[in-house]
């Protein structure tokens, strides 16, 4: 797309090349024989769904981690040792999604951190530092006041400063990790303008993004990773969108038992009514209804706002506008206990962060939502607690010698079942699940999804917020959220490609 093909000599060695990279974390394979080859002057896109291995590749390419097997070459020469940070910085720089600028320091200091000019007496000479910083920014035509505090810069200015800093180490190969995630349309356009300028000056980019639209706009070549494997590398111009999405999603892998959701008979009552929900800067105008026995999917990429919508429904966030009605009652917004009392059960996004108290027993964790059922006047009977826990352990087939085991001793799948048990303990009328099968093995996943199906069949209204197609496949309909708005409402039976495309913010037919 971009017109800087000129000047690229085919015989040049690739700026960066990784071959046959394998990397394991414990029993998890993050990269399996993966490879990438970035030619000089190229803007190379790297795409793949969550967990495809992109971030692991970036950390290997930037020397933060060593691959278990495989080689990394820069301009044909072997990569430096991991401990030689300076050498790595001369080859490659990465602008992470999360800023590495120190907000309290000025632009000068951020640019030249730990590379100070010394005057006599060995003290820092601010005057010459300022001059150096100005020169540096001028070379790469970044228009920022060097004496401003970094925290006062806009997101895009901060990114420019990071890019200039990366270039100042001598690197001419820059990895941009989802640079547009926090930018609005105007800033994205300016960022792209800047990238094109740098492309013209011979800088090579590896561009990682969830927004496929941007890939077509700015990149020459695209590499797709899926499930730790390299799937394809092709010029962007030769790859229709449909094929790109197909490469990302792979064959439609269905679970063993095809799910046959029986639509709730007759016209059951609306149990959950969400109307005009807005949270400034995250989502707006979110309205939907869930009937008893219905499963609704909230689909969207990372940062789309789907998680936040779900968290608002359970009272973890207080919306700026809108109403949530649960079975005719309106629980006090922003209060989990109120939502719980109104009949909302909740499986949070990250079980380690919000789902479990690792040092406490399965019995304590599963009954945490229902202390009032375990005894009178605030006291709790351990016998009753263990009885409830045992029932839940049986219902969810949690593999444990007993309810007294701390949950830290359980496998990931069983831990997730404990979180599910905690949500189900209160016999909820509305069950809100956020990525309910993240990081669990296939069998537990199947079990958990089947459980959700049964809970719904028993008359519970269910919301599944996820970007995993398997999670969404059990839904009666899927609402797709993109940039904080519902952009599509897909009844069961959707095509994988259509859903993924909608989540990524493009239409395949376009």
């Amino acid at each position: 797309m971009s017109g800087n093909e000129g000047g690229r000599v085919p015989s040049d060695p690739p700026v960066a090349e990784a071959t046959d990279i394998t990397k394991r974390f414990g029993s998890t394979v993050a990269l399996d024989g993966a490879r990438i080859r970035v030619l000089p002057g190229q803007t190379h896109a790297l795409v793949g769904r969550n967990g495809a291995g992109k971030s692991t590749l970036v950390s290997i390419l930037t020397g933060l981690q060593a691959p278990d097997t495989g080689r990394v070459l820069f301009a044909g020469a072997a990569a430096p040792r991991l401990s030689d940070r300076d050498a790595w910085r001369r080859h490659v720089a990465c602008v992470y999604q999360k800023s590495t600028i120190i907000p309290q320091l000025t632009v000068v200091e951020n640019l030249l951190l730990n590379r100070y000019d010394r005057g006599r007496l060995g003290l820092i000479s601010w005057r010459s530092l300022r001059q150096r910083a100005r020169d540096l920014l001028a070379v790469w035509s970044v228009d920022v006041d060097v004496e401003a505090k970094a925290k006062d810069l806009s997101v895009e200015q901060r990114q420019f400063v990071e890019i200039a800093r990366a270039l100042s180490f001598g690197a001419r190969f820059i990895i941009l990790d989802e640079p547009t995630a926090q930018l609005d349309a105007g800033a994205i356009a300016r960022l792209f303008g800047h990238i094109r300028d740098l492309q013209a000056q011979g800088v090579t980019f590896l561009y990682i993004s969830h927004h496929l639209q941007e890939i077509y706009e700015i990149c020459d070549v695209v590499t797709v990773f899926r499930d730790a494997h390299h799937i394809l590398t092709a010029p962007v111009a030769d790859l229709p969108r449909g094929e790109l999405v197909a490469a990302m999603t792979g064959e439609a892998t269905t679970l063993d038992a095809p799910r046959s959701r029986v639509a709730p008979a007759g016209d059951p009552d609306v149990v959950l009514d969400v109307a005009g929900l807005r949270f400034d800067g995250v989502f707006e105008d979110i309205s939907f209804q869930v009937r008893a026995g219905e499963i609704i999917g909230l689909a969207g990429a990372g940062g789309s706002g789907k998680t936040e919508v779900a968290e608002t429904v359970v009272g973890l966030r207080t919306p700026h506008a809108g109403a949530i009605t649960v079975d005719g009652h309106t629980p006090r917004p922003g209060h989990v206990a109120a939502a719980l009392a109104a009949g909302v059960g909740f499986v949070p996004q990250d079980r380690h962060h919000q789902g479990l108290i690792a040092g406490m027993s399965i019995a304590d964790n599963t009954t945490m939502t229902i202390p009032e059922r375990l005894g009178a006047a605030g006291f709790l009977s351990t016998r009753r607690r263990d009885a409830v826990a045992n029932t839940l352990i049986d219902a969810l087939a949690i593999k444990t010698p007993g309810p007294d085991l701390p949950v830290s001793g359980l496998s990931g799948g069983n831990q997730q079942k404990v979180v599910m048990a905690r949500a189900l303990a209160s016999d909820p009328k509305v069950l809100v699940l956020i990525t309910p099968t993240a990081g669990v093995d296939v069998r537990s996943k199947e079990f958990l999804l089947d459980k959700v199906d049964r809970v719904a069949s028993a008359g519970t209204a269910v919301i599944v917020a996820s970007d995993e197609l398997d999670d969404l496949r059990i839904c009666d309909r899927v609402l797709v959220i993109f940039q904080g708005r519902i952009v599509a409402d897909m009844p069961s039976g959707w095509h994988d490609h259509d859903l993924v495309a909608a989540m990524e913010g493009l239409t395949v037919d376009a």
Partner: protein, 345 residues
Amino acid sequence: MPETLSVVTDGSTAVAEASPRRSTGKLVIARLRDLALVPAIALIAVIGQIVNPVFLQPDNLINIAQTMSEVALLVLAQTIVLVAGKMDLSLESTFGLAPGVAAWMTVAVGAGHGTGLLSGAWSIPITLLVGALIGIANAALIVRFGLHGFIVTLGMLIVLRGLLTGISGGQTFFNLPESMMYLGTAIWLGVPASIWVCVALFAAGIVLLGYTGFGRSLYAIGGNVDAAKAAGIRTDRVLWAALIGASVLAALGGLLLSGRLASVAASQGNGAIFTVFAAAVIGGVSLNGGKGTMFGAFTGILLLFMIQNVLTLAGVPAQWIGALNGAIILIALVVSRITGGKAQE
């Protein structure tokens, strides 16, 4: 499907269906960990008896129990706060200021700095009220304004100590009213009342932490506050209650000591917080929250006071007790680290 990395984990461990043999094993170990200091306490008792046959005499044992009862209430209070993942350094100043204010207001003019504003009957309510107010101040700063508990209560420790020095003019209140003396001097069934109070409150503490929804919420908040919130626990409310309750307990402890000594010194409780933390940690309470039991904390403070008593009986010069005390705390930490098997946080 795609999404998660190729996970080879859990599922494979799902070998033979674990026969549903519930309970036992782990539970027994958990209980045993509670008793970790019991052998050490028994050992000190034997050593004490060898050093001086007076040690196991009832009079001496009651003496140990009575001198530790007041500080033990601070340990009780601190354990509640620590389990919830916070800490309260100001307890030692509350221990002095709460009875100090009561004495200031009830002791007749002329005797020291007393003002004689209220009759002696008000002394106990005032003590507890001052404790509650301090707890409210701490909770407001820590929970409401989100300041760090360590630094808030450190500041509070200094302020409260200064207040006590201010109202007392740096001197000691004497001629306390009858009601302030009662709990520290009364004998119930041949045993000092303060021991009964202490034991009863620890028993209540064991029930509170282990068998009430409030107690389990404390563990949940100390273990993972986000998970506790997501489970619908009103974390702020629980923390308020914990901090206020702890301050009231500290005030009560101060009342017991004032009663026993028939006075309130300007330095009452000064430096006690270090012993309190040491006892809690030796007793298995984690400084990071979420771990430890009331019984363990009790054995911790009991062990420290027994060792002190043995040293005194062995005729160790008073000037050296301080250094030995510190050394013993360090040794006790090392020993409990070895027996506990896990790093103390």
